[in-house]
């Protein structure tokens, strides 16, 4: 499986590491809303289809990426630098 890093181009999956679900929004650190924290930590939608994920090109340019991956086919729909994607509001 290849992932096209926006900086380095197509690279082998072995160079990348999964960094987590990009759809969750962390509650304010000072928040005492236990339901919000519970949902953030434990409640996962686990979709069968496109999923927004953070990855890092750890064995390359070390950039953090926002990837949309199909959980059924592993097809990579899009890859963007996480910094630019978050700045432009592209995060799901």
């Amino acid at each position: 499986m290849l992932i096209s890093c926006p900086h380095c181009g197509p690279r082998d999956l072995a160079e990348f590491s999964y960094q987590g679900d990009a759809t969750r929004t962390r509650p304010e650190p000072a928040s005492t809303d236990t339901k919000a924290w519970h949902d953030y930590v434990y409640t996962r939608p686990n979709p069968a289809g496109p999923h927004h994920e953070y990855w890092q090109h750890a064995g390359g340019c070390r950039a953090h990426l926002l990837i949309v991956r199909d959980t059924l086919s592993h097809e990579i729909h899009s890859v963007a630098l996480a910094r630019s994607a978050n700045a432009s509001g592209a995060r799901a």
């Binding site: 900086h7 380095c8 690279r11 064995g59 390359g60 340019c61 070390r62 910094r83």
Partner: protein, 196 residues
Amino acid sequence: MVERATPLGADFRPGSYGDFADGVGVTLSEPSTGTIVEATAWPGHEKALTAALGRGTGLSLALAPGAGAYRDAKAAAFNIGPGRFLVSGKDEGLVDDLARAVSLETGTITDLSHGRTALRIEGMATEWVLAKLFALDFSLDAFPVSAGRATAHHDFFVQIQRTGDHRFDLYVFRSFARAFAMALRHAAQDVGYAIK
């Protein structure tokens, strides 16, 4: 100045090894690098960093993924990530030149001279040997002279610059250098290799 000890160990000694009956395919060596530095730009200051590194090293650098510049026995620099460059040179004073050239508003200079080791591989079978270790296209068209790539071979994180048609400089963590040199030697076994 205290002489820096090689991390490659007593085993990495000059000679010919492997299947060298018909000559050696590659030569391995440890180039003299008094300075190895990582330069990183603050967001939006990538162009200014590229220009400052050019002033500090005397190299003509471009801001593009994998772009690099190389001047034999003087200095080398290449892009290793968004707004990041690896810069090396023979002179130990280069790190001070770079620190003066790159202002605090532009970015940061991190001295890795004691944290990285450079290994050089050269010879007609260089591309063949490196292709065994890395999932990269090492052909001259895809990986031109002076260009650089950051990649990995299992746990070895390696930054590679092409410094000639058949020559590459590989930068690895100093603590991994001996093990990586061994992997390189195993990969070069079938073409025959010399250490100099």
